[in-house]
Amino acid sequence: MAGDIVYFAIVGTGRTAQAPSGLARRRYAGPDGRTPVDEALRRELTWEPDSAIVEWEFGEVGADLVEISEAVAARLAAGWRVLWDDGG
């Protein structure tokens, strides 16, 4: 489990997993490498602590979370960087 990172597309209303409105990820840390650490990508393109995944696990019916690959997550982040660098 340690070293594993699971990425999620945060699919807000009107969005799809291919065009989500945010990204979240869960990695594992701690002495045994089994403690989940949840983060979400901010507009500053930094990963910060966030409870989106936990809220979804507790039945949140707002945005949907769809697991995506690391490559897809990287592609989405790169696209946003370009978009937001252009002032979007």
Binding site: G12, T13, A29, L41, L45, E48, A63, A74
Partner: protein, 512 residues
């Protein structure tokens, strides 16, 4: 006065030399403030439906660290705590899409674009963003929490901690170190409560159950012949999961406490003491609205534009909910519609205090919007304000025996009333939250609202564990502590009987 002639208006004596009655002093005639206060959105500020708004500071552990352990590289993904790219200082879509005059839709206030404290400034070059792989360890002390300073709050920004605001504005709250210790203690108290308290129904804790849960049982719909079954009702059940094994709970959860609301005899004696008690001082952590219209609370911050957007969305919710300017209800609005649906149900009912808890309190709404703005960087604040799905929320309670039937019937009635089901999540097989949560759209007002379906037992646990839930979903809670709290929550939830037939109710999400 004594030398004035008897009978003079200011003389202490009457014409016949008898002493006059002492004059009553105005301050002795002053009446205390009385009764409950209405929140800015019209909701009862003390409504038990929203314990989070008032109870959060009491139960949430103060975020002191945001811990990230070393992680594998992820090509193309930014590393944790990467420096803010140039785009970060650009106005957010919220401002850009605002229809307000330019002066109002200006980019974030100076506080947002102000240089971050030294402790927050990354030393990594910006060019690293596109090339650094994956994440890295970011065990940051409190002082390093990324903080968006409020204009007036810069001087007092300190150990705010990150509880979800993450890269956006960790505003040092008014909680000091002592307060944080206090909240820790109260959180422990919440756990102790779980160990000692009997599941005494829902009456005294009609707070806003953010979480909810479903039940299971394949044949639960057989008892109510007049209701269509899940199989022949088009309620969005295209991807029905396998029916989990059911575990019949008690035939009915004893809920006598529903009627056990405190009476006047139990109320504090405010009439006697209100005029002589000293000023208790401001609450430890209360929402602040800046002179520029900005808003902050619990470490969250909204710009003036964002706060205005939230207020406008709240106004829409208020109209859709149905309470009129006199505090009553007519025929229109969601709450009257829910009461009509309730009246048509063969079993089950809305929470007794539905009218006072239907509207999410304004500050809780803003808190949620602040989280969504951070979490959905590719959406504007305007869009996200309309995505707050529980700005209006209702909870139906069924006894375990009729849970599945009742939930199905309520769905039918909701659809029959013109509401569109957008999302349903059956959480009865979740190890933690128990119940069914759903999101509906009111076409008349083009607004979404939330409906939860509970048994008395699942509702009771969701309320007793609400403090735990708040701490668990506080992004500032250390991961190890979160794991511990989730374990406690799971133990509490394990005691909730899964109602028969709940497993036949599938998840649903409307396409598009």
């Amino acid at each position: 006065m004594e030398r004035l002639p008897p009978g003079h208006p200011s003389s202490p004596y009457n014409d016949d030399m008898t002493p006059k009655q002492p004059v009553a002093r105005l301050k002795n005639l002053e009446l205390p403030l009385h009764g409950t206060e209405q929140g800015s959105n019209g909701a009862n500020a003390s409504a038990a439906h929203e314990p989070a708004s008032n109870g959060r500071a009491d139960v949430s552990p103060a975020p002191e660290t945001s811990t990230s352990a070393p992680a594998a590289s992820a090509p193309g993904l930014p590393a944790a705590s990467a420096p803010r790219p140039p785009a970060a200082s650009a106005p957010r879509p919220a401002s850009e899409t605002s229809t307000r005059p330019a002066s109002e839709s200006a980019p974030r206030p100076a506080s947002e674009s102000a240089p971050r404290p030294a402790s927050e400034t990354s030393t990594r070059p910006a060019s690293d963003i596109s090339t650094r792989l994956g994440s890295e360890s970011i065990t940051r002390p409190v002082s390093e929490s990324v903080t968006r300073l409020t204009p007036e709050g810069a001087a007092r920004t300190a150990a705010g901690g990150s509880n979800g605001a993450g890269g956006r504005s960790r505003v040092a709250s008014s909680l000091g170190a002592t307060d944080r210790l206090l909240t820790r203690n109260l959180l422990l108290s919440a756990a102790e409560l779980y160990e000692t308290r009997e599941p005494d129904g829902v009456a005294d804790e009609l707070a806003d159950g953010e979480p909810g849960g479903p039940a299971e049982g394949p044949d639960g719909t057989s008892g109510w012949l007049s209701t269509p079954t899940w199989a022949d009702t088009d309620l969005g059940m295209t991807d029905a999961p396998d029916a989990p094994a059911s575990e019949d709970g008690p035939a009915a959860w004893d809920t006598p406490e529903w009627e056990d609301e405190p009476g006047w005899d139990d109320a504090p004696d405010t009439l006697t003491h209100a005029t002589i008690d000293g000023d208790p001082g401001p609450p430890a952590d209360e929402p602040l609205t800046g002179p520029d219209g900005s808003w902050e609370w619990n470490g969250r911050y909204l710009t003036p534009d964002e706060s205005r957007i939230a207020d406008e969305a709240l106004g829409r919710c208020r109209i859709a909910e149905g309470r009129n300017v006199f505090g009553g209800y007519g025929h229109s609005g969601l709450t009257p519609a829910m009461r009509r649906i309730e009246a048509q149900l063969e079993h089950g009912r809305l929470l007794p205090d539905t009218e006072n808890g239907a509207l999410k309190p304004a500050d809780s709404f803003k808190e949620k919007l602040a989280d969504l703005i951070m979490r959905h960087p590719d959406k504007s604040a305007e869009e996200l304000a309309l995505d707050v799905h529980d700005g209006i929320r209702y909870t139906f309670i069924f006894d375990a025996e009729h849970y599945a039937d009742g939930t199905l019937q309520a769905h039918s009635r909701l659809k029959g009333s013109g509401f569109d089901l957008e999302v349903r999540r059956n959480c009865w097989q979740s190890p933690e939250y128990k119940g069914i949560n759903s999101r509906w759209r009111d076409p008349a007002h083009d607004l979404v609202f939330e409906v939860q379906f509970h048994t008395a037992a699942s509702w009771d646990v969701s309320q007793r564990a609400h403090g735990l839930y708040e701490a668990i979903t506080d992004a500032g809670t250390p991961p190890e502590e979160r794991a511990r709290l989730r374990s406690i929550y799971g133990e509490m939830a394990a005691a909730v009987p899964v109602p028969r037939g709940s497993g036949t109710i599938p998840d649903y999400r409307k396409e598009g």
